[in-house]
Amino acid sequence: MSAAEAPAAGAPASRRGLAWARRRRALAGYARAYAANRGGMAGLAALLLIAAAALAAPLFIGPGDLSITDAPGGRFDPPGAGAPLGTDAYGRSVLDLVVWGARISLTVGFLAAFVSVALGTLVGVTAGHFGGWAGNVLMRVTDWFAVLPALVMAVALAAVMTRSTLTIIIAIGVTAWPATARVVRAQTLAVEARPFIERARALGGGHAHVMLRHVLPNVMPVVLAQTTLLVAEAIMMEATLAFLGLGDPATVSWGGIIQDARTAGAISSGIWWYMVPPGVAIAVVSLAFTMCGRTLESVLNPRLRERQ
């Protein structure tokens, strides 16, 4: 955009300063475009609220509140003064459980999305940059992973490894990366065809320089949007694995609460307050991430922006 002004003699700021000013302007433009989207703002607000609740949870939920043996409430108390959302089979407040579960769900969601996006970006950029024989092999490996059904694979991995939160993160991360790799590779190919890459090569830029300084920054917007959408997927997968009884039994998670409710017979005895809140929580968080991801995508991808 304003790159043409940069070489003008007697430019007031340093080259670095100009670059930063340009980035700030671009960022402000993106922020404005994002703020104009009501769905995206609602998603963002919901996420900030939930993240704040998850971070502040230890301040008002003591270890005794979540203990199976000496929880304060009675068994299956309906919603009332002590517990706004009633209590579970062990007398724990369902509201406390759901708030506490947000910590696990968000952690797993972010870390698993990070693992798969990092892996996918690495493979995608490498395959797109080198092309030829090496790129072909990488894409064949990607295709092979993409064929493995994610849920079946994650269930198998979670069953094979010890039951812990780390296992779930790995299981989701390993199964979700092929989609990112494909998107990133396509974007890399598009970027590499542009003249500035040729210029960088002509000036003596090596593979690492081209990939890190030129391709990666241009691929990042796509990756960012993809990450946000993947977090929603990872949170859903975490809940699914926990529901199937493959989660860490020692931690409180939304899928785990639903599973507990099911085994405690809440379904047949109509104890709705045990089952409804965790599911609503999953739906709200996953919807919020989807809204943010879609808005980011439309803001960062000019082709999509025109259509809106």
Binding site: V147, V152, V160, M236, I267, M275, G279
Partner: protein, 347 residues
């Protein structure tokens, strides 16, 4: 997405007068088909190898799991190991497994003591019935709603439809299923809570009605959670077409809006959608696992889940190959169907 057939793209649709493409002898279509089929076979082989080694590392010994709570002698345990072939060295087990797969002999289930292929055949019907009905309804619903939303993009209807679809898409399917059971099955008593049939029902019509009655809730759950993706695909591909010149031409001819949509926009927008539907179909079979678990539907998903607990190696290995194989098969079909649907790719 599916790559157009780059190899065969140089040859004409009518290759006879041109005496073939670059390589004489094989018609380009055959080479294209052959390449796709070969790729699919290689993928299938890779999946088979993965399946074997992935489940060998499962913790727990099937023999001890099966004999839990019973007094057994060391000799009996040894005999069981011998029966299952678990006393063989790993390379020998792998060889047996590969040879078995080639002849569609997946071994004998540890827990049910029947051939796995019989079990799979028995459970395949219910899964296909559930997944097929659900996908059909979801795809039709998604296409209709997606067309409506994409054609009037930005309208109130578009926003409401998209919002509802995305909200349902964010709901965990197992939770929605449980909720429906609470409300409509155990609560209102309108539908059965689980299974596929009531024992004691006879007569073909009664049995069909009974199965349909059992299917309502699982199918409703599946459709509610899944239709959003078909709708969003159709919506965005219709939006992609919205600015196309041929639509302006069609309007300039004086065609009514509904005709422009039905005769011109939808057929073109359907192309990418149909491909994506095929790609999704392969995943549906494994995606139905959760719904089968919640509703105790006697299909492949619940079989897989029960096999994983033991671990019943022959069952989980075979089902892993079946699940991944269905994805491979559908990818292949999508590649093969695309040139038939879109003449532009053929020429």
């Amino acid at each position: 997405m599916t790559a157009p057939p780059a190899a065969g793209a140089t040859a004409d649709a009518a290759p006879a007068p041109r005496a073939g493409g670059r390589r004489p002898g094989l018609p380009p279509t055959v080479r294209y088909l052959g390449g796709r089929v070969l790729t699919a076979l290689v993928s299938l082989l890779a999946v088979m190898v993965t399946s074997f080694f992935l489940f060998r590392v499962l913790p727990g010994d099937p023999v001890t799991a099966l004999t839990q709570g019973r007094a057994v002698t060391v000799e009996q345990l040894e005999a069981m190991r011998r029966d299952f072939g678990l006393d063989q060295p790993l390379p020998q087990q792998f060889l047996d497994y590969c040879l078995g797969m080639l002849t569609l002999d997946f071994g004998t289930s540890y827990q049910y003591r029947v051939p796995v292929s019989d079990l799979i055949l028995e459970r395949l019907g219910p899964t296909l019935l559930l997944a097929g009905t659900g996908t059909l309804i979801a795809a039709v619903l998604g296409l209709v709603l997606g067309t409506r939303a994409g054609w009037r993009r930005g309208s109130v209807m578009d926003r409401v439809d998209t919002g509802v679809a995305l909200t349902l898409w964010s709901v965990p399917s197992f939770w929605l299923g449980l909720l429906l059971i609470v409300l409509l099955a155990s609560g209102a008593g309108l539908f059965p809570t689980s299974g596929m049939s009531t024992p004691g029902v006879t007569g073909p019509l009664n049995v069909a009605l009974d199965v349909a009655h059992h299917m309502v809730l699982p199918v409703a759950t599946m459709v509610a959670v899944v239709y959003a993706q078909y709708m969003m695909i159709m919506r965005s591909s219709l939006v992609d077409e919205a600015g196309a010149d041929y639509l302006t031409t069609a309007r300039a001819k004086g065609l009514r809006d509904a005709l422009v949509l039905r005769r011109h926009a939808v057929p073109n927008a359907l192309l990418p959608t149909v491909t994506l539907i095929f790609l999704n179909l392969g995943r549906v079979v494994s995606g139905v696992i959760l719904i089968e678990t919640v509703f105790a539907w006697p299909g492949l998903g619940s079989l897989f889940y029960s096999g994983l607990r033991v671990p019943d190696l022959p069952i989980v290995q075979a089902l892993f190959v079946v699940f991944a194989g269905s994805v491979i098969l559908m990818n292949l079909l999508a590649d093969l169907v695309y040139p038939l649907l879109d003449p532009r790719v053929r020429t």
